[in-house]
Point group: C2
């Protein structure tokens, strides 16, 4: 069997008829294009996310299955960040000729593990060879109620700023994996606190359910996903909404396993939380009076929801009130591909 | 301005409000995802096509603007090959750090030239750096009437087989460009017969209008676009439809400029037509009794429409009747990425 035959066997008929049917798939993988039936009255939400070997991941940080999982997770997270429900994905993979067949197999395993977990039907894509680096690009397609998709630009002065989960763990996990510089092994297990951090880096979960709760609550204003660190995402909201954001250092949710690893390595865990990336948690704003009720609904799903600051019209940009009473302007910095 | 700033300036606000509005764009480039309003009662048609430097093109065969144009054309062609109307595109580009800013600019020029020509709204994408090769992946999204998208699997015995345009010219143009091995220059002009062939290779036009005529006629059965040569596409239709296809050598439309170049280089132009690729012409089947009327409607747009064979249930696969009366089985061969 050649590589095309392998990929065919790894994609055709892989997902259940129920999953495809539930997502309105009329023509799936195998023709020039896929055909789907939109849900009546819904708008379509689309995004695209690309991961490039040696730019977004290295063989010392990620197994092939993790790469597949995370590429799907990142694209689905862009749908979640609008409060939309993901339905479909198209996957383009450029595969280096020297990549072993087992690695290709694992890549698709991870990709479908994430798609299945979030009820996403993989309906098409393109597979090509690549001279050097593995490149995986996922287009995710979802649906949202007309006029209700949650934009970055909708923050209003007086809103509180919230974040879900434990941002920074992914960057801490990356720090560990880069530091030890050992080829990754799919069978390796980690003791705590490393397990939490490595898992956050390799298998981030897009916050689809929280996004839907936030949209359907009708209370959420701005929303973004944390792909480049809390400071960078707060900057995006502040700039798009033409307002300022205060973050409270003492409120930032620092996972105890991140604290433990930071202590061991003599680092400041806030550097990972504010300036690390790829957590795919949600950061957003809403009027203070609704935070307890809506936040409670998110927490009821098992996901932390933390108020970390507030929106203001008294300055532009992002500032932090430190625990010791000082204030400082936060950099936008996140990962810049061309720096 | 850094590269991200450049790309922002090359994409934000680039297309007219009229174009976006006509295509139901509610949220365009700039947030986590784009949001669009589906046309009432239509199905959504989606496909993805990827071009990789040194796999699909080289700097000696394509200028940056051509790469952008052709990447968009290839994705739109997959929509045309269903008889659907293209509406939106998402573009992922991985850019080598050493690529000059002028080349990035030209790439987007070509991309938008094609999108504008076919009324496609570019609503999102992802831009990353790449360690080595330029990779461009376009997801095209269109619409078709429910139950009427034209599939590869719909050919029936007794149908005629048709093709639009002049397939093979792109492969002949590639042959010339590879043979001379000179760095491509956007300002270079070519004398005939080369102009026809080089243009077919660098600026192929997806057959959107013909695809719509074919679908809306209600007479067309199978449809495919010629991305890997007429023989390879006929094989795809034959296999998907579980039937055989006869091609008539004497009927194959050989462009006079391809004949001239073939004579000069002592080659058989049918090799390009049957086994070359990237023409993005349409190949399909329909009952013989409708060919004149429907073909006439396609020809009225200025595009050749030629009956080149017929569908049979007397064998499986693809055979050709030669002009001298012999018959031969045609290979499936087209470009195989992993060969």
């Amino acid at each position: 069997m050649d590589e095309f035959g392998l990929i065919r066997s790894l994609t055709h008929g892989r997902q259940s008829r129920e999953l495809l049917s539930k997502n309105g798939v009329v023509v799936g993988i195998g023709d020039d294009s896929a055909v789907t039936a939109p849900s009546p009255g819904q708008h379509t939400v689309m995004s695209c996310d690309t991961m490039v070997q040696d730019v977004h991941f290295k063989t010392i940080t990620m197994n092939s299955a993790d790469v597949g999982f995370k590429a799907m997770a990142a694209a689905v997270s862009d749908i979640a960040a609008m409060g939309a429900a993901p339905r479909h994905a198209l996957v383009s993979i450029s595969i280096p000729k020297r990549l072993p067949v087992t690695a290709v197999n694992e890549l698709y395993e991870g990709l479908y593990a994430c798609a299945d977990a979030f009820g996403v039907a993989v309906i098409g894509g393109d597979t090509t060879s690549s001279p050097e680096s593995l490149v995986i690009s996922v287009t995710a397609v979802g649906e949202a109620e007309p006029g209700r998709a949650l934009m970055r630009s909708a923050a209003r002065p007086g809103d509180i700023v919230f974040v879900t989960g434990w941002p920074g763990c992914s960057a801490a996990g990356l720090d560990y994996l880069l530091g030890r510089a050992v080829a990754s092994d799919p069978d390796e297990t980690f003791a705590q606190p490393l397990e939490t951090l490595v898992r956050a880096h390799r298998r981030p979960l897009p916050r689809v359910e929280a996004g839907r709760i936030l949209l359907l609550s009708g209370r959420c204003h701005a929303l973004n996903d944390v792909s480049d660190g809390v400071a960078s995402e707060a900057w995006e909201i502040a700039e798009a909404s033409a307002c300022g954001i205060w973050l409270d250092e003492a409120s930032l949710p620092v996972h105890p396993d991140m604290t433990a690893y930071a202590a061991e390595t003599r680092r400041n865990p806030l550097d990972w939380l504010l300036f690390g990336g790829e957590d795919y948690e949600l950061i957003g704003t809403m009027p203070r009076m609704y935070a307890e009720q809506v936040g409670g609904a998110v927490q009821a799903t098992g996901l932390p929801f933390t108020v970390i600051g507030e929106v203001t019209d008294s300055f532009a940009g992002v500032r932090m009130r430190s625990s010791d009473g000082r204030t400082e302007t936060l950099d936008k910095k996140g990962y810049n591909h061309f720096a």
